[in-house]
Amino acid sequence: MPTFTDTPSGRTVRLVIAVQDGQLSLVSQAAVQLDAPPLDAAAAPAPGGYLELHDEAGIALGRVHVGADFDGGMEVVPEQPGGAPAVLRTAGTDAFTVVVPVPDGAVDVVAVQVGLPPTDGTDPVPGQSFSAAPAPGAVTEIARFRLDQGQA
C-alpha cells in the first residue's frame, strides 16, 4: 500500500577539483542525493590518482580512483574524422568531479598519487597472471582539502 514517508538516501558529497600547473584546488563541494559506489578500502591500491577521505588522526578511511595522474593531459580528436584520437600533454590544466560517500569521522579530502610498485627489473612473463596482492607503490600526497561538515 502507498505510504507517505520519504526515505533519506546515503550521505554523499560532490567535489569539483581543478588542476593548474600541477596545483590542485577545490572548486566546490556540495551534498548530493545520489548512489555513489563504495570507497575502495584496499591497503595497497593500484597505481593511479586517488582522492582519499581521512579522519582527524590522518587515517585514510577509503579512497576513490580519479585517473592515472593529475598531470592534465588531454585527448584530442584525430586529424581525420573517424580515426583514432591521440593524447596531448600540454599546459597541465585539468578539472574533474567525483561523488564520494562520506564515512563517519571523515574530515579531510586528500589527493594522492600512487606510484608503480617496485619491480626486479624483469618484464612480465606472457601468460602469467598477477598476484591478488601486489607490492604497494609509493604514495605521494598532492593536496589536502578540508571537508565541509555542514555540507556533508
Binding site: M1, S28, P81
Partner: protein, 802 residues
C-alpha cells in the same frame, strides 16, 4: 574573458525521464552562442542525444538516459582560433573561454572545464557526464585521457567532432580505458611496453592467461591467445597490420592503454580505440551492466502512467515509487519539462491495481480488494512529498469487477461493467476524501462500450475510445452533471486512425499523450474536441519524451531443452509484423527444465510446479529488456500438492485455475503474488467449471477470458465473470466457438488485447488478434495467422509474459 563574457540562462531537461538518482545524467553546456543563437545550441543538443540513442548499446538503454542542456549566452559567437596554431586568428569573448590550438594543435579545442563543471554541478547536482558544445563549424575537440572521475569533453559543431563525446562517455560514464596503442603518436618514446601490473579498467589487460582473463566469457574456445601480437620485437612502434582475424573476434590484441606492447585490448577495433567504430562486446557489456543497475525494478519500465489536468504526469515505477513530472511544453507540444522532473512523491504504489487522476490533485486507486481509494497530492505544484490528510481513504467498494475506470472531471467517474454498460458516478466527497456520492451514481449512461479497447476522458464531458480497428472515436456526454443518458450529436465520430497498440493518457484541454512500442511519449492536441471534428494541432504528434515504456507487451518466455529460460519480446505484437526486440532471445534463467507446469500471471510473475508438486513463485524484474534480474524471493514455495493438476492456467490479479484429473476447473487467488509469500484468498479452491478434462490446449487471457481447443479443433471462448470471488458465473453464451482448425497446434499462448500465439506442426510461431475477445464474437484482426517466428517447437514450455 570568462564569466564576465556571458551569463547562464537556465537549464532544461530535454531528453529522458528517468529518476535522476538512477540515470546517466548527461549535461551539455553551450559556449560561444550569443543570446540570439540559442536555438542552434538546442539543435546541437538534440542531435547529440539522437546520435547517442542510436549508438549500440545505448539504443536499448534509452530509459536510463537523461539529457540536460545548460543554455549560456556568450558575449561573442564562436571561439578563439589562434594563428600560431594555424587558425584564422579570430578571437571571441565567451563564457567558458573556448579556444582552438591547445599545445599548438589547431584541432585541440579546449574550454575552462573547471568552470564548466562548477556550472554543471550547480545546475544538475546528479550529473554523470558534462560536455561543452562550442559554436564553431571548425573541426575540433578534446576530452580526458581516462579515469573514472568526470572530466568534461569539449567539441565543436563540425560533423563528427561529437565522436569524441561518445568516446568520453566510455571514460567518464563507465571507467573504460583507451584501447589505442600509443600516447601522442608517431615518433614517441616511453610508450614501448606497458608497466607491470594489471590495469584496473575492464577493457584492457596485461595478462594472457585464458582462465584469469577479465573477458574470458567473451572469448571463443578456438580463438588463440594472444590473438595478435606486435611483430616489432623492440616495441618501438605499434603493430601496423590490419586485423588477421574475422571482424568482431574477441580475444587479445596487443597494443592498448597507450602502450605499443605488453597490454591487450579485447577486439581489433572499438570506439575506445577508433572513434565511431562502435563499442566492442566487452565495452558493451560494461555499459549494459552499469546502466542495467540504474534501471528501475521492472526493467526500467513503468507499471502505470497517467496524466492530470494541470500539466502533470504521474507514473508508478517498477519499484513502486510514484513519480511526478511537469510538462512545461504541454500547450504547444515542445520537449520542455520542469527542471526537477521527475520527483518521487510516493512509495509502495505497485500494490495498487489501477491508479488514475481526478481533478485538483485528486488521485484514485483501486486495490486488490476492489476498494476505491482517494488521495490528494497537495505537493503537486512543485512535486513535493505532501499529501492531504485522509489520503488513502476508502471511498467506494466493488470497483474491482469493473473493466475500465477513469475520471471525467468535476468529480465524475466513468466505468464499464462486464456487460459493456457505461456507468456514471459523481464523487461529492472528492475534495476531502469522504464516502459521499451524488444521487444517481451508478447510472447506466451508455451501452456497448466493451468494444472499445482504450477509453479515456478529454475533459468537459468529452470521452475518447479506441476501437479494434485502431480508430479514435469521439463522444461528448451531455448528461455528465446529473448522470443522464444524453449525448451530443456526432458522438461516435472517428477523429483519428492508427491508435492501436498505444498507451494513451490525457490531461484535458484536448491534450492527449500516447506511448507506443518505441517508448517515446508523443503529444497530440485535438482541436476538434468540442464538436468531434477531425482537426488536430499542426505538427501533431510531437515527440516530447522518451523512455516512457510501460511494462512491456509482446513478451514470451520459453524453456529450452537444456533447461534455460529464454526471453523474447515481439515488438510486432500489435499488428503481427515480424519485428522482435534486439537480442531476442535472451537467456534469463537456467534449471527450468524440471517443471511440470509453467504459467505467467502478468507483471513479470511466473508460477512453476516442480517435480515434487510444489508451486513456486518468481518475478522477473528484467522482463522489459530481457536482463537476468529476478525479484528477491523468486523460487519461493507458495503452494503444495499442485502436481496432480492436468493443467494450470494463470489469469491476472493472482488468479490461478487448475484442471484436476476429474476435469473440474478450480479457482484460486494468490494474495501473495506481488511478493511471493504463502498467502491465498479464503475459501479456495472453488470449483467454477466441469468437463474441462477433455479439452486440448487451454489458456487464460486478460479480463477473465479463457480459450480452449476442443477435440474437433475448434477454438472456444469463455469469460469467467466470477473470477474476482471464485463464483460459478460465466458470460452468457459461453463457450462460444471463435475459430476452427486449431487442433494441430503444439502450443497456445495468450497475451494482452486479444493477442494469441500458436506453434504449428512445422514449428512456426503464428500471431493472431481476437478482436471479438470482449464478447466472444467471431472477429479477428486482419493478418491473423501471420508467421512471426520459426523453430519454436524446440521449447518445452511456452508462456506469455504480458
Amino acid at each position: 574573458m570568462g564569466t564576465s563574457d556571458g551569463r547562464v540562462l537556465g537549464t532544461t531537461p530535454f531528453y529522458g525521464s528517468a529518476p535522476r538518482s538512477r540515470a546517466l545524467n548527461i549535461v551539455l553546456l553551450g559556449d560561444g552562442f550569443r543570446a540570439n543563437e540559442q536555438a542552434a545550441f538546442d539543435t546541437a543538443c538534440n542531435d547529440f542525444l539522437t546520435r547517442l540513442e542510436g549508438t549500440p548499446p545505448f539504443d536499448g538503454l534509452k530509459d536510463t538516459l537523461n539529457g540536460f542542456r545548460v543554455n549560456v549566452a556568450s558575449t561573442d559567437s564562436g571561439a578563439d582560433d589562434p594563428a600560431a596554431a594555424g587558425g584564422t586568428g579570430a578571437t571571441a569573448n565567451t563564457y567558458f573561454d573556448a579556444t582552438f590550438g591547445a599545445g599548438g594543435v589547431r584541432r585541440a579545442l579546449t574550454s575552462n572545464t573547471a568552470l564548466a563543471l562548477q556550472v554543471a554541478a550547480a545546475q544538475v547536482p546528479e550529473l554523470s557526464v558534462a560536455m561543452v558544445l562550442v559554436n564553431s563549424s571548425i573541426y575540433g575537440g578534446t576530452g580526458a585521457t581516462g579515469g573514472t572521475a568526470v572530466r568534461p569533453a569539449t567539441f565543436s559543431l563540425a560533423p563528427q567532432a561529437a565522436d569524441i563525446g561518445v568516446h568520453e562517455l566510455g571514460h567518464s560514464g563507465f571507467g573504460l580505458a583507451d584501447e589505442y596503442a600509443y600516447l601522442s603518436g608517431a615518433g614517441e618514446t616511453g610508450q614501448d611496453r606497458h608497466p607491470a601490473g594489471e590495469p584496473r579498467e575492464p577493457n584492457v589487460t596485461t595478462t594472457t592467461n585464458r582462465a584469469s582473463l577479465k573477458w574470458a566469457w567473451a572469448v571463443a574456445a578456438g580463438t588463440p591467445l594472444p590473438t595478435m601480437s606486435n611483430p616489432d620485437a623492440t616495441a618501438a612502434t605499434e603493430d601496423p597490420r590490419a586485423s588477421t582475424v574475422a571482424a568482431g573476434t574477441v580475444g587479445l590484441f596487443e597494443g592498448a592503454n597507450h602502450f605499443h606492447s605488453g597490454a591487450y585490448r579485447p577486439t581489433f577495433s572499438c570506439t575506445m580505440k577508433v572513434l565511431a567504430a562502435g563499442f566492442c562486446p566487452v565495452c558493451t557489456a560494461v555499459i549494459k551492466n552499469r546502466l542495467g543497475q540504474l534501471q528501475t525494478p521492472g526493467g526500467g519500465a513503468l507499471r502505470q502512467l497517467f496524466a492530470a489536468d494541470d500539466s502533470l504526469v504521474y507514473s508508478v515505477a517498477g519499484n513502486g515509487d510514484l513519480l511526478w513530472y511537469r510538462h512545461d511544453g504541454r500547450t504547444d507540444g515542445t520537449f520542455r519539462w520542469s527542471a526537477d522532473s521527475p520527483r518521487r512523491v510516493g512509495v509502495g504504489w505497485d500494490g495498487l491495481r489501477h491508479v488514475f487522476a481526478g481533478d485538483a490533485g485528486v488521485l484514485y486507486a483501486i486495490n486488490d480488494a476492489g476498494d476505491l481509494l482517494w488521495y490528494r497530492h497537495d505537493g503537486r505544484g512543485d512535486g513535493s512529498f505532501r499529501w492531504a490528510a485522509g489520503s488513502g481513504n476508502k471511498v467506494g467498494t466493488g470497483w474491482g469487477a469493473l473493466r475500465q475506470v477513469f475520471a471525467g472531471g468535476d468529480g465524475v467517474l466513468y466505468a464499464v461493467n462486464e456487460s459493456g454498460d457505461l456507468l456514471w458516478y459523481g464523487h461529492d466527497g472528492r475534495t476531502d476524501g469522504s464516502f459521499r456520492w451524488a444521487p444517481g451514481s451508478g447510472n447506466k449512461v451508455g451501452t456497448g462500450w466493451s468494444a472499445l479497447r482504450h477509453l479515456f476522458s478529454g475533459g468537459a464531458g468529452v470521452l475518447y475510445g479506441v476501437n479494434d480497428a485502431a480508430e479514435l472515436l469521439w463522444y461528448r456526454h451531455e448528461g455528465r452533471k446529473a448522470g443522464s443518458f444524453d449525448w451530443a450529436a456526432g458522438s461516435g465520430s472517428k477523429v483519428g486512425t492508427g491508435w492501436g497498440g498505444m498507451a494513451v493518457l490525457t490531461s484535458g484541454g484536448g491534450i492527449i499523450y500516447g506511448v507506443d512500442h518505441t517508448r517515446d511519449l508523443q503529444w497530440y492536441r485535438h482541436d476538434g474536441r468540442t464538436d468531434g471534428s477531425f482537426r488536430w494541432a499542426p505538427g501533431a504528434p510531437k515527440r516530447v519524451g522518451n523512455g516512457w515504456g510501460l511494462v512491456a507487451d509482446g513478451l514470451i518466455y520459453g524453456v529450452a531443452v537444456n533447461g534455460d529460460l529464454n526471453w523474447y519480446r515481439h515488438d510486432g505484437h500489435v499488428d503481427g509484423s515480424f519485428r522482435w526486440a534486439t537480442g531476442s532471445p535472451k537467456r534469463v534463467g537456467n534449471g527450468w527444465g524440471g517443471l511440470q507446469h509453467l504459467v505467467s500471471a502478468g507483471d513479470g510473475v511466473l508460477y512453476g510446479v516442480d517435480g515434487a508438486g510444489d508451486l513456486r513463485w518468481y518475478r522477473h524484474e528484467g522482463r522489459s529488456d530481457g536482463t537476468f534480474r529476478w525479484a528477491a524471493g523468486s523460487g519461493n514455495k507458495v503452494g503444495t500438492g499442485w502436481g496432480g493438476m492436468k493443467r494450470l492456467l494463470a489469469g491476472k490479479d493472482g488468479i490461478l485455475y487448475g484442471i484436476d484429473p476429474a476435469g473440474d476447473l478450480l479457482w484460486y487467488r494468490h494474495e501473495g503474488r506481488s511478493d511471493g509469500t504463502f498467502r491465498w484468498a479464503d475459501g479456495g479452491p472453488r470449483k467454477v467449471g466441469t468437463g474441462w478434462g477433455g479439452l486440448g490446449q487451454v489458456v487464460a487471457a486478460a479480463d477473465g477470458v479463457l480459450y480452449a481447443v476442443n477435440p474437433g479443433g475448434d477454438l472456444l471462448w469463455y469469460r469467467h465473470d466470477g473470477r474476482f470471488d471464485g463464483s460459478f458465473r460465466w458470460a452468457e453464451g459461453a463457450p462460444r466457438k471463435v475459430g476452427t482448425g486449431w487442433g494441430g497446434m503444439r502450443s497456445l499462448v495468450a497475451g494482452n488485447d486479444g493477442i494469441l500465439y500458436s506453434v504449428n506442426a512445422a514449428g512456426d510461431l503464428l500471431w493472431y488478434r481476437h478482436d471479438g475477445r470482449a464478447d466472444g464474437s467471431f472477429r479477428w484482426a486482419a493478418g491473423s495467422g501471420a508467421k512471426v517466428g520459426t523453430r519454436w517447437d524446440s521449447l518445452t514450455h511456452l508462456v506469455s509474459g504480458s
